[in-house]
Subunit: 338 residues, 4 copies
């Protein structure tokens, strides 16, 4: 922690800051400049916060030097972590594409989806049984019945399943239905009680970025899961809120290399929710892979025009197959496989 | 719903849209312009969504005409709703200031806080027993013990209490400890399962705005609560995320008159979280009241420098008393009381 | 400047940074912590920039300690500066409301505007002769003819005039037509050649905030003007770009107290461009004054429905008169006059 | 134009809107729904603006149906436009990488830069003689002397040059020094007088996106240039302002496919200014190309640590050569050449 004193801070102000640093078990290092005095706190900075110092008389601001995240940090774990889902590695050389419909609708729709996903060459299936909808009057998902259809489709085609958990009370149910990867959605990125609960199990977790979460907040949300003991975390960038109205969200492609530098955990991208339009998915998917993403989360529906939600952003099976064919040479050019 | 067809849409494309409108029980109204054909859907638009039409061939975009919120809308309830908390009216002529510490720390701190709040002329007490912290290593609140201290302070000074509920499993506990107003925090504005649960009780709810929630999303979140039967909802603007780094969040003062026009429910403002600095609170508090807010939610701590969280934004008792004195003539100039 | 070295930075890396600090004429202060070494540069930091250090081996980041602005800074000029325009003081106890139409249209419209402005009790007249329009096909302003009509209206009613300069080649023409205050618009806040030119004259300048300019960038833009010798600068907050679609721009009311703390120069607010709707103007105007603004810039048109631009945000003469009547007690409650 | 009437709009209100549509030479189409009456204006909508209708009694809002841009629109020019710069095509199958230093410093530095740029396989040289700096105390560029050094380097290595024009008064000087492509910078995207002037010549123009410009505003800025007769316009995405603090700007990769759909003109990307760090450039460059960009604008300096500005984001010659080698297979995988 560096504490910058205001111009005109008194000796007593400086002494009080020094006393506070010492009482937290650290040592101080005082540097008197021509315009400002700067005080460094030497020792384990993680016991200090800026607002321990900023309200003190004569303090202008306090700056953290060391990042707050530990377990998820690449600094403490330099190599890449590969999260394995029923034999499918995420975060290794192979790029993984998780595909499936926005919402589980019927057993037939899920079976058709799973078949199309497998035939396109994807190795993981997604589908929502519980849907976070901005309106209480919109379709809220089939609920537990949806988990059942997901499980059937998963078994029929041999694909592990990814589905979103919104309510902490349903975690046991998710485990009963053999959900392979639990997705924490954008709106729950800082639902800390939910994070703590999924931190207590050992299922892989996809942690979507909050609508306007900074990379630091996102890493700290992952740290909540990791601190509980579950280190099988996959980050998923899905577009952030911006000022632009020409498309739904702004895909933050820069977050991919920044995350890969800051954390050892895998990073995937959801180009469907980012752009909000099926025609944007191929360009965004390619950009994500080129920027270093370890995989994609793509919406595909056997018949998009009849989808019960987000119809406008789902690829159809042919479009998914085409995308996979186009991604293959790209992956190769980047030294990866698909 | 208005469906704008793309230039060059075929007669078959138009016929398909018309068919879809009819099958939803509405009538169509086709307007062929020189550059575009526009189709209006006449009837109850709330059964339609834009993405039912946007993926169809020849459709450029679909636009909603009627707002999605119903119960919270001023259109269906033109008069102002006053939410009464143990006799204290929120949303009437009187401006209410809810004050207290960020987090409940000790019985003594809460008693001192409650006394200072009452002496300053405020009629409601706030304090956090469960704290949403961005780091898992930060103080997470005293939990149930904190509810106990809150209750003691409330009884001692005769002030109703406001405190944040984060975990749906704790709702019964909150009721046992006589929490008067349940606060739903910024990070949980779209925690739909939590909204549904507080919609089933009849306690007043303060619904804070999500970090980058649009006014429409915020009204729809309130509609979740209202749809469950609980219409005692108070909106709380607390600053949104922006690009500026000179202060913590950007207080969206424009949202106040916009909300007052769109909804009949009370609107309050939290100037402490908005600015993130105690010295900004008076200016922001005055701006909020001048813009039409029905009340404030202000952090006050008996000894800010020793606060266990957000120390930098808490007023001390003297500063709160000064603020109340300064707000009184302002309220009067605006035709209100304090 | 504080330079934070990366974990694992070598002694040679540290020595290189020290050498660079010394070669810039400053002294170093090295603090070796348990996790990071921190180097302070002691002396006149303004000769250093972060990117002198950040590309060096072993450097994690460099942080400025002292603000970059000098002349406009309150640190070097603690008292408030009052800018006087033909006897009208801006930045003193009296709040000044500058009003008039978006664009100058006809001599009659300007005369009617000026009369309404004076009758409402305002002391300065605005009107645009050159209009920055997002479309090349929109009305671009009357040009020099508009300056003539402005001058006539100004003389008829005895009101100083404020009008926007977009093209550096027209500065002399503005001076010929006795423009009293030159407005630099949002889109030109960082048109540095224009800033340098208005810095060479001694006319008061209203500097509007760029659409997404930080407070620091805005202060630095003012510093461009001040560095040329013209210290008669008035800041004008007019709403920034945000994610919200319920209104045009987001009025950044927090910027008012932040600016008043950072600079000695006056700060006014344009509630018309901020909200983009006439019905929002009174609430935003009151919020601005309550937050500490020294004045307002308000659009008023004798007949808003017939205005040639921005018709939707102009008050009519009655609405302006009503606003002034409502602002008077507010100003008084705040210890100011109108 | 579609005009949505408010609930409860009277027949007289509707009649007034109809009259206004007719007086503009269009025909009306009135659709009375169950909740709202909607009025369509049939004819050339470009003579109408929303604010002609929104202030009228009984009008809720007015919506444009047709885009405002014409010449730059793909709707009127379906094929791709290739802009040729001294024989180098931009916007065709070949991806073009424009490289060079942030600022022109010395003849030797520019010659070394040009040689490195050519040796890396790039075909265009960039360098700034006039620099838009946020501080008046920062190096402002060498000015005309810099144009001279640029010209020498260009002739020595046979590379066309790209450089930024900030001041309209210097346009003739730019032409004298054989500048091949005029760059309009981020801060001047809506400097309409500057756009009009470069619209009158026939030199290619790179139009950088404003810091928080929407795609629509950007296209309209290009329309200003095109309306003057100069259709040789190249869009350059360079990152927009966002809330994230982990890097400088947020590269809006989605804007690339959106622009390619809306306009026939070439689109390039500046990964250096987007990320603000040299280590981010390769990932962002690859993402841009994968998303469909026609080229890149990359900062390279013979010795980044000694660069006079933006040292932290410049590649060195080896890094540029490596980037070009990595882009080649990527371009091929995408069906393009480098």
């Amino acid at each position: 922690m560096i504490i910058v004193m205001a111009r005109g801070a008194s000796d007593a102000d400086i002494a009080a800051v020094v006393e506070k640093i010492r009482s937290a078990g650290l040592a101080e290092h005082v540097s008197r400049g021509t315009e400002r005095t700067i005080i460094g706190a030497v020792g384990d900075e993680r016991t200090l916060t800026a607002d321990m110092f900023e309200p003190m008389p004569g303090v202008e601001r306090a700056l953290r030097v060391v990042k707050e995240y530990r377990i998820v940090s690449r600094e403490v774990h330099p190599g890449n972590t590969v999260v394995t889902v029923r034999g499918v590695p995420i975060g290794g050389k192979a790029i993984q594409v998780i595909a499936g419909p926005c919402s589980v609708e019927t057993p037939e729709q899920m079976l058709a989806s799973a078949r199309a996903v497998r035939e396109a060459g994807c190795r993981l299936l997604r589908g929502g049984a519980f849907k976070p909808r901005s309106s209480p009057y919109s379709f809220q998902g089939l609920g537990v019945e949806g988990l059942d259809y997901l499980q059937q489709a998963s078994r029929a085609e041999g694909l592990p399943i990814v589905t979103e958990l919104m309510d902490v009370r349903l975690l046991d149910t998710f485990l009963e239905y053999d959900v392979d990867v639990i997705q924490i959605g954008t709106r729950n990125m800082q639902n800390f009680d939910l994070l703590k609960e999924v931190g207590r199990i050992n299922k892989p977790v996809i942690l979507k970025r909050g609508l306007s979460a900074t990379v630091n907040e996102w890493l700290m949300a992952a740290e909540y899961i990791a601190a509980g003991g579950n280190h099988n975390i996959i980050f998923c960038e899905r577009g952030v809120r911006g000022f632009e109205t020409a498309y739904r969200n702004m895909l933050d492609v820069t977050a991919i290399p920044v995350l890969k530098r800051e954390t050892h955990l895998p990073v995937i991208v959801d180009p469907s929710h980012a752009g909000g339009k099926a025609w944007l998915v191929p360009a965004l998917a390619k950009a994500a892979i080129a920027a270093g993403a370890d995989g994609l989360l793509v919406e595909m529906h056997p018949n998009p025009c009849e989808a019960w939600c987000d119809a406008d952003q789902a690829l159809n099976p042919d479009e998914l197959a085409t995308l996979m064919r186009e991604l293959a040479p790209l992956a190769e050019a980047l030294g990866r496989t698909l």
